[in-house]
């Protein structure tokens, strides 16, 4: 077992962990988006409520296990990312006087710690609004009503949109980078992976953004 810990904590191993957990989190985003888009059906939240009840059921053992795994991996991804950032910062030593990194790399790739940190803050707020009160606490009313209430606040919706743009930044680099980290790079399929990463990031960002935008406009036009 000692060799395995040493392996996943080596400089290449830490990155392997980032790639595997990152890809898992990206898959979760897809599932989460699929469920959330049910909110846009104009049925008073019926489809969404049915879906969230199934997902939250204590008898849904597979989902319960994945849920615990998700929390653990999300936390590991964040902690490991911060560790890597600190270690990598130390490797530079003295900073350059004149530094022009935009000539050789994308902004997305250089700001993963920043986009990741803001996503983490977003996550805490997001869980406090929805997950904790409706899943663990005893919030009055349904989650659907909670969604309507939360997104009718322009400040709250605005923060969501900002976080989603940063999530897209994180994914534009993260998705394709994960494949490179796994050792998958080939002139035949790497251009496809890079393109796919961008499309995935935009779809996730636009898909999730449609929900606060939809409810914000609905509340402003007076409809409930």
């Amino acid at each position: 077992m000692g060799w395995f810990i040493k392996f996943i904590d080596s400089s290449l191993g830490k990155k392997l962990v980032m790639a595997l957990t990152g890809l898992f989190l990206a898959l979760f985003l897809l599932e989460h988006l699929g469920g959330n888009l049910l909110l846009l059906i104009n049925d008073g939240g019926e489809a969404f409520t049915t879906f969230s009840e199934v997902m939250a059921s204590p008898y849904n053992i597979i989902i319960r296990v994945i849920e615990y795994g998700l929390f653990i991996l999300m936390f590991y991804h964040a902690v490991n990312g911060v560790r890597l950032w600190f270690l990598n910062k130390r490797s530079r030593g003295q900073a350059y006087e004149s530094y022009n990194p935009s000539a050789n790399s994308t902004l997305f790739s250089r700001t993963m710690i920043l986009s990741g940190s803001i996503i983490f803050i977003f996550l805490v707020i997001h869980l406090r609004t929805f997950f904790f009160p409706y899943r663990l606490g005893d919030a009055p009313g349904s989650m659907y009503e909670g969604v309507i209430e939360a997104f009718s606040d322009p400040v709250y919706s605005g923060f969501y949109l900002l976080a989603l743009v940063l999530l897209a930044f994180h994914l534009i680099h993260g998705v394709q980078s994960a494949f490179q980290t796994l050792g998958l790079n080939h002139n035949k399929y790497t251009p496809f992976i890079k393109g796919f990463g961008i499309v995935f990031a935009v779809v996730i960002c636009a898909g999730f953004a449609s929900i606060p935008i939809y409810f914000l406009f609905r509340s402003m036009s007076g409809g409930m």
Binding site: W3, F7, S10, S11, L12, G13, K14, K15, L16, L84, L87, N88, K89, R90, S91, R92, G93, Q94, A95, Y96, E97, S98, Y99, N100, P101, A103, N104, S105, T106, S109, R110, M112, H173, Q176, S177, Q180, T181, L182, G183, L184, N185, H186, N187, T190
Partner: protein, 253 residues
């Protein structure tokens, strides 16, 4: 013919490893656009010597883009504003009259500054010594072409073997990671039959030495490959990762 230029150089001066170092401004006057960057430094140094001052110390050797000595950071980029060249291949026509040029040594904890613009790159030598070789018997030369190798494999190996060990990858990387160098040196061997025998030991030993030297880890910004004077591709890094992952699961201890 283009007119000669007057430039301001902001150069890092540092007496020795212990010295804290500082930037100093020099005037480079009447610089011909046809001079190479190193020739321009030569002229400035001539003036400094005439004035009895210490000339700017800068590494250089072949001056034809193949030795990898002349690595300096010029206006925020390794080897200056062009791609796939070394400093000796950089010409003054790529700068304009009145421009200030900032000249710094490579910045990496694993590359301590020896003097002015010269850094100690022996960390690279220790990585090679750890595993960047193949073991062969001495004696008579073996038959040529005794081991069949496809042209594709030869070329693929040579793509990685082009690395001149200049350290621009480390200098450009925001993490001062040496992954492009290490992977080029591991890949050019493992892409040929003779290099496959020691592949696991090599991958493990080179990565371990790389970590020991204090280089950062690769976060795939691809700055290294973009700034590499030989255009070494990111596929070398992917290959080293595969080699390293497999080796960890394969070796028996």
């Amino acid at each position: 013919m283009a007119k000669n230029m007057n430039l301001k150089l902001k150069v890092w001066r540092q007496k020795n490893k212990e010295d804290k170092g500082r930037f100093q401004i020099y005037d480079a006057t009447n610089v011909s656009p046809d001079m190479s960057f190193l020739e321009m430094i030569d002229v400035v140094n001539e003036e400094l010597i005439k004035k009895g001052e210490d000339p700017i110390a800068i590494d250089h050797d072949c001056r034809e883009g193949i030795c990898g000595s002349c690595g300096v950071y010029i206006n925020g980029r390794p080897h200056g504003p062009l791609r796939e060249i070394t400093t000796c291949q950089l010409y003054m026509r790529h700068f304009h009259d009145g421009q200030t040029i900032v000249i710094e040594p490579w910045r990496a904890a694993a590359f301590p500054v020896i003097k002015d613009l010269i850094v100690d790159r022996s960390a690279f030598d220790r990585i090679i010594a750890a595993g960047g070789f193949i073991s062969v018997n001495t004696g008579g030369a073996p038959d040529a072409n005794a081991i069949p190798i496809t042209k594709d494999d030869q070329e693929w190996s040579l793509d990685a073997a082009e690395c001149i060990g200049c350290g621009a990858c480390v200098a450009a990387c925001k993490n001062a990671s040496a992954m492009l160098f290490v992977s080029a040196k591991a890949s050019h061997l493992v892409r040929l039959p003779q290099g496959k025998i020691e592949r696991e030991r090599r991958a493990l030993a080179m990565v371990a030495q790389m970590e020991k030297e204090g280089f950062g880890s690769c976060t795939n910004t691809e700055a290294c490959s973009a700034e590499c004077p030989k255009g070494i591709s990111m596929d070398a890094i992917a290959q080293l990762r595969r080699e390293y992952f497999k080796a960890n699961f394969k070796v028996r201890k």
